[in-house]
Amino acid sequence: MAFNSLTEFLMMGTHGVYVWSAYGFSTLTLVWLVWNTLATRRKTRDTLRKRFLRNQAR
Amino acid sequence: MQSSASLTISDLWIERGERDLCKGLSFSVQPGEVVRILGENGAGKSSLLKIIAGVLSPLEGKILYSGEDVTLDRTSLQQDAIYLGHSVGVKGLLTVAENLRWYCPDISISILYSVLTQLDLIDLVDVLVKKLSAGQARRVALARLWLTKKTLWLLDEPFASLDVGGVALLEERIQQHVLLGGLVILTTHQDLMSITPHDVVLLS
């Protein structure tokens, strides 16, 4: 463990702002990527299922 | 011009966008034959001509020209063919004569002028094509049929925007061509007056 306390960990010496903003931005962007991917996946399946059901009903 | 050329299409499968236009289409064209492709709008008439000309590739099937398989490399067919599409391929910034010189550089002045006289374009020889009407521009493109000695003609709606005189001229020229053993494939919505074509119907 490189830090003695939680405050020290959050401060990161004097570089807390930099480290946490870098990690924050990266995490948010990667989460957005996954969310976008899964949303596209669900939307594709939904559209196709609706289309097939509609065609069956006809 | 080859007098013994023939074109055989076998088992052609055309796909456009996401739709099958035709599947398992086969027909052949012998010397001296006019083939007319029939079908509704969007049935794939133009696509079929483009595939034969080598603009598009079929999904499956074979194209034989004079017995040679040209499905993958259409060069030998192209060197013996004229294809005229919806946009006829004459440049607006060139004059009538320059446009024809571009396509047929070896033609002599006297032949060029006599053909242009026949087509009623002789007064427009040095006029830029962009100043001509649609029908006149099409006549310029069609003049290639008089000026070159290619065997296979692939004509997509050749009668579009032509007047009565132009239609008669073109029909006469097509007849001359097939009498000499040429091959013509065309699409048209008009009835042909003097030509009796073999019909190939594309079902959608």
Partner: protein, 220 residues
């Protein structure tokens, strides 16, 4: 259609559109003039920056000219005729690019002496700048023509071409400006010229084939 009749007709069309070439030239001069007016007009700033300014302006002017190289041919159907002509499409594209290069770059070279005076470029750098333009601009045309083919079927494609192609122009700009800077500080520059030449040759070999693939897919 033969290769020579095609080449001649290309020149004829370019001749009829000489206003476009003239406009490209004016555009080039205006962009160059923006730098002294907009940043700093003292010789201390301009002399070292001259090569970079000229190259940036040249890149933009060339991209403007190349971007629409297939547009008219696509609309009037002559691009389709090239595909079905039975001639080699890559070779036809090569000829087309060559004609365009001659028509755009030669006038550009003619006005460079004037501009380099206006930018206080020292005479040692002047000849190297001319050489970089001669050796480097072909690759700009060959790369740009791929972008032009990619966007020929899009109505408002000019911006997209810029976005697609400008990153690829980076090395050419860097090599050229470094070459001119090298002469100004008395360093050898032949290696950089060789890099430019290599880029032009590489793009000459690759680009016509790539462009032909895209043109074929575009005309259907």
């Amino acid at each position: 259609m033969t290769y020579s009749s095609f080449f001649v007709s290309e020149f004829l069309v370019l001749w009829r559109r000489k206003q476009d070439v003239f406009n490209a030239l004016l555009f080039f001069i205006i962009v160059v003039a923006l730098f002294p007016i907009g940043i700093n007009s003292s010789p201390d700033f301009l002399a070292p920056a001259a090569a970079g300014i000229v190259w940036c302006a040249a890149v933009l002017a060339i991209l403007m000219a190349v971007e629409s190289i297939f547009k008219e041919d696509y609309l009037d159907g002559s691009l389709e005729q090239l595909v079905v002509s039975g001639l080699s499409l890559p070779l036809l594209i090569l000829l087309k690019v060559a004609a365009q290069w001659l028509v755009v770059v030669l006038p550009l070279l003619v006005i460079i002496p004037l501009l380099s005076e206006m930018l206080y470029l020292p005479s040692s750098g002047f000849w190297v700048l001319i050489m970089t333009l001669i050796v480097g601009t072909p690759s700009l045309f060959f790369i740009g023509v791929i972008g032009a083919a990619l966007t020929v079927s899009i109505k408002q494609g000019a911006m997209l071409v810029m976005l697609l192609i400008l990153p690829f122009y980076l090395p050419v700009i860097i090599f050229s400006t470094l070459a001119v800077k090298a002469t100004q500080s008395g360093l050898p520059y032949s290696g950089l010229l060789a890099m430019l030449l290599a880029m032009s040759l590489l793009s000459l070999v690759i680009s016509p084939f790539m462009t032909a693939i895209v043109v074929k897919a575009s005309v259907n």
